[in-house]
């Protein structure tokens, strides 16, 4: 029996200004089970950060309740909440001379005494957190001298030092380069797997989310949150329904976004080498062509023979030595 770590009951999130309440979403009724990596996705301004803030107790819900491990969050003291939920936010501390270990040590403050004196156990936890996030080499460094990816890891180490069953992260991959994004997702997966953490993170990196999260909370203004396996969301067409625009559509087969095919003619790709074939198709799609492999509905076709690209169009045959020449010809001609 899996245990619900976070439970939202008739939760209405939003903000109050001039005593007027503005709800962002319909009532939410959701559960988040233990030891899962859950991604929160949705367009800008839909309320991802507001939901994370509401769950963590930084913001009061307009209506309804959040339950943490079966207890209503509003009944929990700040100190108790600090030992249940840790946060990693988008804006990181930027104080001069603030060192990596200062920030991670702050994660122990919910456990430390009035003077914030660190015990041997605290130091052990801090060291372990640095090891788990792979940042022991960053000890003694100032936070402002680190890269965005390193700083993100320091904040995650702080969350680990806080020793909470739940970690909430607001767009942890936002400012990272691609390899760092993947590395960070792997780290989160490890924490879920090895330490049984329950992790909820918001993200705009859809392909990353689909590849690495256990569940996805898909957030939309009209429908609230759809909670399902990432694969199920794709197959049920939810991803298309939420993210497609007139110029961009999510390719459910490939798992990425591509431009909606233009009026340009359909081409047939007959290159047999799979690697070459894939990247030629990639280039053609990028230029706005629709590319088929087998269908007969095509107006020109490309093959690769004797180290040359062969282009057949209305009986005319032309040869190109490089992909760039072929592309130039096609974009000028068609």
């Amino acid at each position: 029996m899996t245990q619900a770590v976070i439970e939202l009951k008739n939760l209405e999130i939003g903000y109050t200004s001039n005593k007027r309440k503005t709800a962002l979403l319909p009532l939410l009724n959701l559960c988040l089970n233990k030891a899962l990596l859950v991604a929160l996705i949705g367009s800008n301004g839909v309320g991802k950060s507001t939901l994370l803030r509401t769950i963590s107790g930084l913001q009061v819900p307009l209506n309804g309740e959040v339950f943490i491990k079966g207890k209503p969050a509003k009944m929990l003291s700040r100190a108790a909440l600090a030992r249940l939920i840790s946060l990693v936010l988008t804006d990181q501390p930027d104080e001069f001379y603030l060192k990596t270990e200062d920030v991670i040590a702050a994660g122990r403050y919910p456990y430390s005494n009035f003077w914030a004196r660190l015990t041997a156990k605290d130091n052990e936890v801090i060291h372990q957190s640095m090891e788990d996030t792979g940042i022991t080499h960053l000890k003694g460094r100032q936070l402002i001298h680190l890269s965005d990816g390193e700083r993100q890891k320091v904040m995650i180490a702080k969350a680990l030092a806080q020793d909470t069953p739940i970690i909430l992260l607001d767009e942890p991959t936002a400012f990272l380069d691609y390899p760092s994004k993947i590395e960070l997702m792997r780290l989160l997966q490890q924490l879920v797997h090895d330490q049984q953490k329950t992790i909820l993170f918001s993200s705009h990196d859809l392909d990353l989310v689909l590849r690495s999260s256990d569940r996805v909370w898909l957030m939309a203004k009209s429908k609230g949150i759809i909670d399902d396996l990432p694969e199920q969301l794709v197959m049920d067409g939810h991803i298309n329904a939420f993210f497609d625009t007139s110029s961009l559509s999510f390719d459910t087969l490939q798992g990425y976004f591509k431009p909606v095919s233009s009026e340009k003619l359909p081409l047939r790709n007959r290159i047999s080498d799979p690697l070459l074939s894939k990247w030629v198709t990639n280039a053609l799609v990028r230029k706005g062509f629709e590319v088929n492999k087998k269908s007969d509905n095509y107006s020109g076709q490309i093959s690769f023979e004797a180290e040359r690209f062969v282009w057949e169009f209305k009986g005319e045959i032309r040869y190109f030595n490089a992909l760039t020449e072929l592309l130039d010809h096609l974009t000028n001609k068609l």
Partner: protein
């Protein structure tokens, strides 16, 4: 796990060094001045032995000791208030006067000058010792009034930035009123006000020294109770809140303590610029730390030392009397602040 506790991080070397500097400066303040006193004379007076000249005894007990102790507490108080303000507002250029608390003191003194002039028809300068107490009381009253206003505002305004703007506006507002009062003041009062505005460590007489030291010492001791909240606030309000801190409540308390420190110092010594701004930066630069467990004690020591140093410069042998302390702190503090900004700018152009 070395290096994780501040006491193992080498900060003690800085403590030792700055403590030595403090003691040295204290001695220099007792020895140097318009009347030079030799070390043996000083020793005779301090040890209470017979044989010293009565005038030396008087100079040391009535002037130099009160002045030095005032400088120590004023410097320490302003430095700690500045450190708290900088952390509170996450602004490296915040200082104790930023919320208009010292302008409140100016307003109090200005009002007193005008009131005595209007009511009695005499300039305040003719009132002797009553004038002295009056200035201290009205400065304290004025700054506490502004502090109360700011504290009330902090309950209503949601962000610290809004509060900062409100504070700066209050400072402008009170300065404007002070300007109007000055325009209608008598010449002698105006001069007295200008001199008060230059700041001085010699306003605390022997009789008030104990009270002044007690108030400031107590406030300094209380400020040490806020080390943990200050460290948490350094991470940002939301991180602090998530780590279990009642952010709004502690921000208000820190505001009150920093405000009281500023009020206590300003009431006795007048508005003293730059110590509160520069010393926290000096402490950060020297200790290479952002941890308030290190910064708070070092700000106390370095604030006291800097005030003593400025006082020494103001009374350099060769000058008749002493230079206005506010000019000295500004002369030393302003280039220092520029150096900090320069250093930061260099850092940003190197990394971005």
């Amino acid at each position: 796990m070395r290096g994780l506790t501040p006491y193992k991080s080498g900060a003690w070397k800085i403590y030792l060094l700055s403590l030595a500097a403090l003691v040295l400066l204290l001695f220099m303040n007792l020895v140097f001045g318009s009347v030079p006193i030799t070390l043996s004379e000083l020793w005779t007076v301090l040890s209470g032995r017979e044989g010293g000249s009565p005038s030396t005894f008087m100079i040391i007990h009535q002037f130099r000791i009160p002045q030095s102790i005032t400088a120590v507490f004023a410097g320490a108080g302003l430095a700690v208030a500045g450190l708290m303000m900088q952390t509170l507002f996450k602004n490296p250029l915040a200082d104790p006067s930023i919320l208009g608390i010292s302008s409140g003191a100016s307003l109090g003194v200005a009002l007193l000058l005008m009131a005595t002039g209007q009511i009695s028809g005499h300039a305040l300068i003719h009132f002797g010792w009553a004038r002295h107490i009056g200035v201290i009381a009205s400065a304290a009253l004025g700054s506490l009034l502004v502090l109360t206003l700011i504290t009330m505002l902090s309950k209503r305004l949601s962000g610290m930035t809004s509060l900062l703007i409100a504070g700066i506006m209050i400072a402008y507002f009170t300065s404007a009123i002070v300007g109007i009062i000055k325009y209608f003041s008598q010449k002698e009062d105006l001069q007295a006000f200008v001199i008060w505005g230059m700041g001085s460590f010699s306003n605390v007489g022997q009789q008030q020294l104990l009270f002044f030291s007690l108030v400031n010492g107590m406030l300094l001791a209380v400020s040490f109770l806020f080390i943990k909240p200050l460290n948490l606030l350094l991470l940002g309000d939301r991180y602090a809140e998530n780590l279990g801190l009642n952010t709004k409540l502690y921000q208000r308390w820190i505001l009150v303590i920093a405000g009281l420190l500023t009020a206590a110092v300003t009431a006795y010594a007048g508005p003293i610029a730059f110590i509160g701004l520069a010393v926290p930066h000096l402490a950060r630069n020297m200790t290479k730390s952002a941890d308030h467990r290190i910064l708070l004690p070092s700000s106390v020591i370095m604030g006291a030392s800097l005030a003593l140093f400025c006082n020494l410069i103001a009374r350099l042998p060769g000058f008749d009397g002493s230079l206005p302390i506010n000019s000295i702190t500004s002369l030393i503090g302003a280039p220092f602040v520029i150096a900090i900004i320069w250093k930061r700018q260099r850092f940003y152009s190197e990394t971005k």
